[in-house]
Symmetry: C2
């Protein structure tokens, strides 16, 4: 595995791959890799000839009072883990490389961006869309892999690809969890022991909401119970606990076939997010029956 | 020359060219082609293996009270002219093809966009940037050709390519003019005979401003005289007559080496724009001396 830092080096590598008619799989990350990222890398490796992983903590998607400066970083550990998981090229640009000056042409997300994480993180998804578009232009992948832990991000990226005709296939991948159900996250290292233990309650509340919805419970009632249940399970501050249609992220009604139940909880040094997707269509039912 | 209407057909053509390692030159237009467009096409043909021309009147860049509906269109004449000038592929999509629904992820231009044409056309350059980005994604050109009659557009597109790392080279091309100096424009057909005659005064006023600036006149003084001179030469309403730094489009000072003098004049049925670029650097001086 090669680690590079500049657009020029990247361009050379990509040109070589394209000339050899090799497909490129791309996994954009902010580093501090965990099992969730590694599962994306392994899937990219299985489905493409060449795998590029980027590690870039993007200042554009952090608000002024957010954790950009103290977002965890460990490039040496990341290099080892990325290499072991099948990465061919690690792209690790500096902020100056990605933004030589304040960009004046950026992406603007006008739907799906003001709910859930966008409610308390104004401009967050504009920053995400802008950096992902830039990384797509730089890496020119055939397929790009995103974890569904950030389902709202997946929804925004899919809208971006469709609205701007970006020539890349988005592959959403299931959330990887700890044994007790907590979604893997780079921010989990900031939890105290007690917080870490009870944080499993986030997924428990999500699963419960999913079961209520699949059993045919009215969406409003499920929403109420989900909010109550989450608040009882965690001591952290519940930023949101919501059920919306997916991928539109609009207020759902009882006919909405695809739903997302999503939550964000603020602990002393970390804000955790998690979600589950619920498919109430006949297709979804069939799938679940086949799973049994 | 082949005319196609869908992204799927386009993709096939592009894949073939890329496989054959042929370079693609791209000329985006709104149609009703004139000598200015044809000079772009001929240059694209000279510098690339394969030339794609798009004809698309983009609703996103027209304001609610602008001339989207009555923008002149003549696809059969355009096909003939495009073919004669060396076009290999004419891409003529419908509005529904380009915008199957209202896009929710678009481009936002936060500098260079509120002056000159952006002053009276709010959101115009967001619409331009969005459609040009989409067309670049669809046509994947090595080089794209833009006329400097729309110098502000060139400046915005160059900022977009730089800020978003788009893998395309922008080639700005000199404005093509009628014998009396009027810049070629699809909207010139809307001028009355009298308007057409006096419209040559726009370029005369621009040239005069350029000469004043090159002779060392103070920018503020040149600005005043330019405004007065244009107003005297034309009966149409002067929308703007400004001297700015180029490509930043900021208020210039006497040290600004590269300047643009730009004007927009509203006639009864057409709003005309024109500009000249002025290079007061030592490089610019040398160039001019060599021209003589």
């Amino acid at each position: 595995m090669k680690t590079i830092h500049t657009a020029a080096e990247l361009k050379q590598c990509i040109t070589d791959q394209k000339k050899a008619d090799r497909t490129i799989g791309f996994v954009p990350t902010m580093g501090y890799l965990h099992e969730g990222h590694l599962s994306l890398i392994r899937r990219a490796k299985a489905e493409n000839d060449y795998v590029i992983v980027s590690i870039f903590v993007n200042p554009l998607q952090f608000g002024p009072n957010e954790d950009f400066d103290r977002y965890p970083r460990d490039i040496e550990r990341d290099q080892m883990l990325a290499a072991e998981s099948g990465t061919d090229l690690l792209f690790h640009p500096s902020v100056e490389m990605m933004y030589p000056k304040q960009p004046t042409v950026t992406l603007k997300v006008s739907e799906r961006a003001d709910v859930l994480c966008g409610g308390s993180r104004k401009g967050h998804f504009d920053g995400v869309a802008t950096v992902v578009a830039k990384l797509f232009m730089l890496t020119q992948p055939d397929r790009a892999y995103f974890g569904l832990k950030d389902a709202q991000q997946v929804s925004v990226i899919e809208a971006m690809v469709s609205d701007l005709n970006l020539p890349v296939n988005i592959v959403p991948c299931d959330t990887v969890r700890e044994k007790d159900g907590l979604a893997k996250s780079s921010r989990n290292v900031f939890l105290t022991k007690e917080e870490r233990t009870e944080a499993a309650g986030i997924y428990a509340a999500l699963k419960e909401a999913g079961e209520m919805l699949l059993s045919g419970m009215n969406v409003n009632e499920a929403q109420k119970r989900f909010g109550r249940s989450l608040a009882q399970r965690v001591s952290g501050e519940v930023d949101y606990a919501e059920i919306l249609s997916y991928p539109e992220l609009l207020p759902p009604n009882d006919n909405s076939a695809r739903l997302i139940a999503a939550a964000a909880v603020k602990y002393s040094k970390a804000r955790l997010i998690d979600n589950i997707l619920i498919d109430r269509s006949s297709d979804g039912k069939e799938k679940r029956n086949n799973d049994v």
